[in-house]
Symmetry: C2
Subunit: 311 residues, 2 copies
């Protein structure tokens, strides 16, 4: 099960009613944050998912509007009682940026470990989520994150009993190991079903649309994607800005066969992103205009479900 | 004339309804900011005093809740079109902190000049305000700012005409220079009145109360002071926290003979600072519980006047 909550949807500059783009994700009691612009900790406080269990921060890139909230958040996480290490993933240069920002957060009761990733790298979260990054198409090095939670194949207890496998051995078969029963070796295929689809989401900002990214986010349950400019704004040449229009983001989501699209990272030039919802849905019907508090649960049993604002 | 606007009143951690303590001051079209915690730029945007004319930032000390908003603000000031240098005053160490935070704001279209001050230092603002600092009584080196705007003595045009002084020379006399009229030298005292009281305010956070500070802020038109803890909260030993209770702040303002007191920098332990207004006013009647948007004008003609929230 993965819960996701959009904390903000702004680009470049935090506005009074539009905090900077950030996503928080909860699974197995552990929190992971995707980007941390100025004010992110205020939004985290507003939605009450807590601070102490923030195990991982994933940074897409090192522009101020995606990282300036880090030092303040470090202090607030410390005040919440954290003592376990926190890991920060980000592109090349992330360690130097975190070190620079720690000029005002030098003394913390927990360790901060920065791990710099590059195109194709895979990594594991402490709660069992698995991550992979692909290089975005932006002005500077920027990472798109795809996160997966595997689902174990179905285990058939009647078959296991029929084969006389002692119950204490069942979990080994579920994990894919063979077990000895008398003189025979029983292999997992005898008692578990075929592979089952897990859960997945992707966080894609800041970037132009391109074929490599469409392939990378293919089939996720939820794509959280930038749609920086309005449908007709910059339509002539959005590429020179290193961003997508809402139209391009929707077309990419449709082409990638994702189940659901949340749009975020709206330019201050867009007065009210919701005004573009109907147009966006003509391109890709399963589109939501992001706003702070938009939240959903991904579960093996029900797939994508909207949660209300109280999370 | 000096306009003052309280942007936030929080201490240590920004809360959804209580941004971090910060004050913006406008005089002669020029803006000066006192402290810049995370989210200060959002509050500046909310009250529409602009960004481009931000000539000076005065930092009391280098704790994150007073400076973490700097790099984001630097970008926003750049986006507003500033090209003139910006000066930042702060305690020893300010240059290193600004340099560290500029890891995410390295390229700006204007120069940032950091000037480190120590106890007793005086400095001038580009708009004619004059500043002085005194060392506060806190855990770390921290500066209290007292700002003054001088008022020229009254000039008597009838006396100047009676003495036959040509009009183009009047301004020299007003500036305090003697001028030649025929064979005689006319000195300013012949045409100007006695010295007149100017305008003044002080920004005092974070600190314990003490005699040196009472003397330093003596008689200002407006004292903006921390009152970190509630009347009875920490009353037994607030000193160990390097802060004042609301009660101590009011007593200090009364003893210092200030005209008006604004309280700010409230601990998150205080649910609603306004609940303490009546108690505060029993100690010092001219006390306002600070809140974002509290604003006033200091003018030679009317002294202190509240402005409404639209500024």
């Amino acid at each position: 099960m993965i819960d996701l909550l959009l904390l903000g949807t702004g680009a470049m500059v935090p506005l009074p009613d539009r905090p900077l783009s950030s996503l928080i994700v909860r699974s197995g009691g552990s929190l992971a944050l995707f980007d941390c612009g100025e004010g992110t900790q205020v939004q985290m406080r507003k939605f009450h998912w807590g601070f102490r269990r923030l195990d991982v921060i994933c940074l897409t890139h090192l522009h101020a509007d995606h990282v300036a909230g880090l030092p303040g958040l470090f202090h607030t996480v410390a005040n919440a009682g954290r003592t376990e290490p926190m890991i920060i993933y980000g592109p090349s240069g992330a360690a130097a940026v975190v070190a620079g920002l720690r000029v005002i957060a030098a003394q913390l009761p927990y360790e901060i470990v920065v791990s710099e990733l590059s195109d194709g790298d895979r990594f594991d979260f402490p709660n069992g989520l698995r991550g992979q990054v692909r290089e975005a198409d932006h002005h500077v090095t920027c990472l798109v994150y795809r996160i997966e939670l595997d689902r174990a194949p179905a285990f058939d207890p009647r078959k296991a009993e029929a084969l006389g496998i002692p119950r204490p051995q069942w979990s080994r078969l579920q994990r894919g190991e063979a077990v000895a029963v008398g003189d025979d070796m029983v292999r997992p295929v005898a008692v578990v079903g075929p592979p089952r689809k897990g859960l997945s989401f992707a966080f894609l900002t800041d970037s132009r649309a391109n074929e490599s990214l469409r392939e990378f986010v293919n089939g996720v349950d939820l794509l959280v994607s930038e749609g920086t400019y309005a449908l007709d704004d910059y339509e002539a040449d959005p590429a020179r800005h290193g961003h997508m229009t809402i139209r391009q983001a929707c077309a990419q989501a449709r082409a990638a066969g994702v189940d659901r699209l949340w749009l975020t990272h709206f330019s201050g030039r867009i007065d009210d992103p919701h005004r573009h919802q109907d147009d966006a849905r003509t391109i890709f019907a399963a589109t939501d205009i992001g706003e702070p508090g938009l939240s959903a649960r991904l579960s093996f049993t029900n797939g994508y479900e909207r949660l209300d604002r109280s999370g």
